[in-house]
Each structure stands twice: as structure tokens, then as C-alpha cells.
């Protein structure tokens, strides 16, 4: 295992200390309890928006805390859902009296822990709603699975939901727009390499020099299928076809096209994928109205890519364009 770390047990705490040192203008960080809170929280009359999940997906979620996006994030151990204590603390810290929305990626652990936290927060008199993000089309049959995973769509949901909350919309409205994003967003990912959980010390899976995994999640887990390595154009086609068919996306739709690196893939390759994605969408009469290219929801140093498409309407475009000021996403301010 080759990593820029000290002791594997300390990675999350030390990372949070580093974030605190790097972004004192934006964040309040508790490295022991593992909570990252927007500097100026709670904001009176504003719905608090929080999320959380295992670490190893950075910048998700901590890098998205700030004006116009999340009010707080709770990072767990690497690839391990955080615990209810963190979520409860975050919920209390961002409660401005208008209620708190929990954005939860659909993983058994995350869902159960957030459920417990919501119960505890409700018991303390805070109104909590939860929206579960489940945009991964790789998991097809939710009858025989824990349901679709929450992946790239989470980033878009956090941005758009946070923008509406910033405008002091009600908890109902904020919850509704988050659900709307979830209903209109689809993703699929693939890996060229595995990644190594620091405390595990070795790669989660082994992949031959001419193999790839299609339909991965974001936890370094193997995908739905192992296939021979293909070209960027072919891979893009394999990822985007099920996405387009699932919603389905139709001629005339406007979309936000999000090409996300899994952590170890150079930006060059993401643009090569974007090129082909653009061609495929153009052929189908789908317009890329907004784009996002980069590493936003990762699996440590995994090489790979995910594609996320969000069907846009005027409200979603307006909220996407709204100002945001976080460590990892910033514009308009």
C-alpha cells in the first residue's frame, strides 16, 4: 500500500484537521466527532441541509459544505457509513428553526444510521426529512438487491437542494426539489483499477491488465460485470446507453452532463469520455445545457469514470447556476 498517510487508523481525523486548516473561512470542523459544519450555521429560518457517508469519496461530502450547498457533512470511516451521533450533532448544529433535510445515499448502512439519527433528532424536537438518492442504473433489479445505490446524482442533488434552501424555501419545498433531482438523474460507473482501503492495506479486488469492471459503485467494490478492456468510446457507450434508456431521456431534453473521475484517472481521460458522451447525446437530439467534469465523488485512488445525466428544467437550471461557495464547488461568489 502506497499512500500519503500516517497511521491508517488516523486518516479521517487527520484529513479533517487538514480541511480545518485549509478552509477556516468556510468551515467549522470537529475532527474527533467527525462533523464538518458551515462556518455561519445555524442560519435563522433556513432549512439545514446535511449529508454524510463513508470517507474516501472526497470531495463528497465535506468539500460541499458552504454557502448554497450543504450546511454540514458527517464523514464516516473510509467507505463506512457514519454513526447516528455525528448526524445528530450535525442536525442540531444547522437547525435554524425551519427543519433539517438529510440527503442519504442508498446504502443499507447509511440508511439505517440516518434513520436512527432522524429518530433521535425528532425526539429533540427538530423536524427532520430524509431523501434517499438512488441513481445508479447498474443495479437493475431492486427486488433482489438493496435497491439502487446513490452515486454521482448525489453531488447534483446537494448543489441544487442547497441552492433552494439558501433562498429560505420551506422544508416541504426543499425536500421536493431534492426528490425531483433524484427522479430525474441517472448514473453508471466503471473501474480500470481497484483501490486500497487504508486499514485493509491491500486492494479490494484484483483486476488483470486487460480487464475492467462495469457497473461499480463508489466503495471500491467490484462491479456487475468484468469485461475485457475497451476503448474510451466503447466504454462511454456502455455507460450512457443504460442511463438513457432508464429514465428514459428523450429527443429535445436538456441535460446536465457530469463526467466524474473515480480518483486516479487524469482529467485528460475525463474529457476524452466527455467528447464521446457529447457525440452520443447530439446524435439523439439531447442538448448538454450544463456540464461538470472532474473528480467530485470518488473511490480513493481508483482509476475509472462515472457518467451522470440530470434532466433539466428551468427551476433546476436556475438552482444549478445559483451562487455556491464550498471548498470544491464555487461560483457566483
Amino acid at each position: 500500500m502506497k499512500k500519503l498517510i500516517n497511521r491508517p487508523e488516523d486518516v479521517v481525523r487527520e484529513e479533517l484537521e487538514g480541511m480545518a486548516a485549509a478552509h477556516p473561512d468556510l468551515l467549522r470542523v470537529d475532527p474527533e466527532l467527525q462533523v464538518i459544519i458551515r462556518k455561519d450555521a445555524p442560519i435563522e429560518g433556513k432549512v439545514g441541509v446535511i449529508s454524510g457517508g463513508g470517507s474516501g469519496h472526497e470531495p463528497l461530502h465535506g468539500g460541499f459544505v458552504g454557502m448554497g450547498m450543504l450546511d454540514a457533512a458527517c464523514p464516516g470511516a473510509v467507505f463506512t457509513s457514519p454513526v447516528p451521533d455525528q448526524m445528530l450533532e450535525a442536525t442540531k448544529a444547522v437547525n435554524g428553526g425551519a427543519g433539517v433535510l438529510h440527503i442519504v445515499k442508498n446504502y443499507t448502512g447509511d440508511v439505517m444510521n440516518f434513520e436512527l439519527a432522524a429518530e433521535l433528532a425528532q425526539a429533540e424536537g427538530i423536524e427532520v426529512r430524509s431523501v434517499i438518492i438512488n441513481d445508479d442504473v447498474a443495479v437493475q433489479d431492486s427486488l433482489y438487491t438493496a435497491g439502487r445505490r446513490g452515486v454521482g446524482g448525489t453531488v447534483l442533488a446537494e448543489k441544487i437542494t442547497g441552492a433552494l434552501a439558501e433562498r429560505k424555501a420551506s422544508l416541504d419545498e426543499v425536500e421536493a426539489v431534492c426528490r425531483k433531482v433524484n427522479e430525474n438523474v441517472r448514473s453508471m460507473g466503471m473501474a480500470l483499477t481497484s483501490c486500497t482501503v487504508p486499514t485493509a492495506g491491500k486492494p479490494t479486488f484484483e483486476l488483470g491488465e486487460n480487464e475492467m469492471e462495469i457497473g461499480i459503485g463508489i466503495h471500491g467494490e467490484p462491479g456487475r460485470q468484468r469485461l475485457p478492456l475497451a476503448s474510451a468510446d466503447e466504454i462511454t457507450e456502455m455507460l450512457v446507453t443504460p442511463i438513457l434508456e432508464d429514465l428514459p431521456f428523450r429527443r429535445g431534453d436538456q441535460v446536465l452532463a457530469f463526467v466524474n473521475g473515480m480518483g486516479g484517472t487524469p482529467l485528460m481521460e475525463l474529457y476524452i469520455v466527455f467528447r464521446q458522451l457529447h457525440r452520443i447525446l447530439s446524435d439523439r437530439g439531447i442538448t448538454i445545457a450544463r456540464s461538470l467534469v472532474g473528480d467530485y465523488i470518488t473511490s480513493l485512488e481508483m482509476a475509472g469514470v462515472s457518467i451522470t445525466l440530470l434532466r433539466l428544467d428551468d427551476q433546476l437550471i436556475d438552482l444549478w447556476d445559483a451562487p455556491v461557495h464550498t471548498p470544491a464547488l464555487r461560483w457566483g461568489v
Binding site: 463513508g54 464516516g76 470511516a77 473510509v78 467507505f79 463506512t80 457509513s81 457514519p82 454513526v83 447516528p84 451521533d85 446504502y107 443499507t108 448502512g109 439505517m112 444510521n113 434513520e115 436512527l116 447498474a138 443495479v139 433482489y144 438487491t145 438493496a146 445505490r149 482501503v197 486499514t199 485493509a200 491491500k202 479490494t204 479486488f205 459503485g217 466503495h219 471500491g220 467494490e221 467490484p222 456487475r224
Partner: protein
């Protein structure tokens, strides 16, 4: 069973030991069909439990188990945290007010724990989870207790059944938890949560045996 509080503490010590020793193996199993953290999660949880319950010497079993439950919930995370947390919480509730625990109490605690896991995880047997180790364990325990066997013997039966249940997860297709995302590829691997469940039942049986007779 005399000095149930001391035995409960010893059980928690043993489980902690076993989780530390098997952390690597549990993580290896979780790497195959999950995300490679189950061993670390369980070891972290019981490492946090141990000093807390050590400081509670003299308190009744249910108090020790309740602290175990809340500490697991607060430190394990992932799927295992709420599931085992709920299990220990339900067991604590089942043993509430009892200082001198007998076979029937232990059975009631096990039954409550399993029900808690099934409710929290919305899981049934055959889905390749910890439920597949615990269900046969509870069944075996019930049968033994109903046949009038002593606690130690009954727990030995439960541990043996848990092991069989754990092994039976190998050919199963996972339909709950992370392993379910693998579809057919989950077949052929032993479930990490079923493994930790077996290890816990075995640890309980071992400590009770050592303290009986």
C-alpha cells in the same frame, strides 16, 4: 447462572478479543463481496465497548448490554453498527431487571436480538446476511432449552448451528446489503456478517462453558 454480571463482562471481553483476532479475516471476506471494512468496523466497535463496560463492574447484565449497544451504534457505522446495536439493545431489554440469568432468559435475549436485526435490516433467512447464522443458532438454542439441556450445552449447539448457517451462506445469492449489488457474483463467498455473528455466538458459548460445572 450465578454471577451473571461477571460472566457477561467476560463474554464482552472475549468477543472483543475475537473481533480483534479476526478483523483481518472479516475484512478479507468483506473485500470479496462488500467494501472491505467489516473487520475494522467490528474491531473498532468492541475496542470502544471494552473500556466502558470494564468501568461498569458490578452493574447488571442488561446495563452492560445496553452500553454495548449504544457504543456499537456510536462507533461501528456501516450496516453492522445499527444491526448489532439493535441486537444488543433488544437483548438488554429482554434481560432487564434480571441479575441471575437462566437458560430461558438467554433464549429470550437471543430471540429478541434476532428479531431486532430482522426488523432493522428488513431481512429474512436466505438473503446471505448475519440472519443466516443467527436464525439456526436461535433455533438450536430453543430446541436444546426446550429439551431441558443445560445452558452451556445449549449454547454449544447454538454455536455449532451458527457455524453451519455461516457456511451455508457460501452458495447463497445475496439480496440484501452491499453484496446484493454483485448479483450472481456474490455466489461462492461466505458472508462477513454471518461470520462475525458465528464468532460472537461461539465466544458466548466458550465463556459460559468455561464458567460452568
Amino acid at each position: 447462572m450465578g454471577n451473571s454480571d461477571a460472566i457477561t463482562l467476560e463474554i464482552l471481553r472475549r468477543i472483543t478479543e475475537v473481533m480483534r483476532e479476526n478483523a483481518e479475516e472479516l475484512t478479507r471476506l468483506d473485500s470479496a463481496i462488500g467494501d472491505g471494512d467489516h473487520g475494522t468496523n467490528m474491531a473498532r466497535g468492541f475496542n470502544a465497548v471494552l473500556p466502558k463496560v470494564e468501568a461498569m463492574a458490578g452493574q447488571p447484565p442488561s446495563a452492560l448490554l445496553k452500553t454495548t449497544a449504544t457504543t456499537l451504534i456510536s462507533t461501528v457505522g456501516g450496516a453492522a453498527g445499527p444491526l448489532y446495536g439493535t441486537a444488543f439493545l433488544r437483548a438488554a431489554t429482554a434481560l432487564d431487571g434480571k441479575n441471575d440469568i437462566d437458560e430461558r432468559d438467554v433464549l429470550a435475549a437471543f430471540e429478541a436480538a434476532l428479531e431486532g436485526i430482522k426488523a432493522r435490516g428488513k431481512a429474512s433467512p436466505g438473503e446471505k446476511t448475519m440472519v443466516d447464522a443467527l436464525t439456526p443458532a436461535v433455533d438450536a438454542l430453543r430446541a436444546a432449552v426446550e429439551q431441558g439441556q443445560d445452558l452451556s450445552t445449549a449454547l454449544d449447539h447454538a454455536a455449532a448451528a451458527a457455524r453451519t448457517g455461516m457456511e451455508a451462506t457460501i452458495p447463497m445469492l445475496a439480496t440484501k446489503g452491499r453484496a446484493s449489488y454483485l448479483g450472481e457474483r456474490s455466489i461462492g463467498h461466505q458472508d462477513p456478517g454471518a461470520t462475525s455473528s458465528y464468532l460472537i455466538v461461539q465466544a458466548i458459548a466458550d465463556v459460559v462453558r468455561e464458567n460452568s460445572g
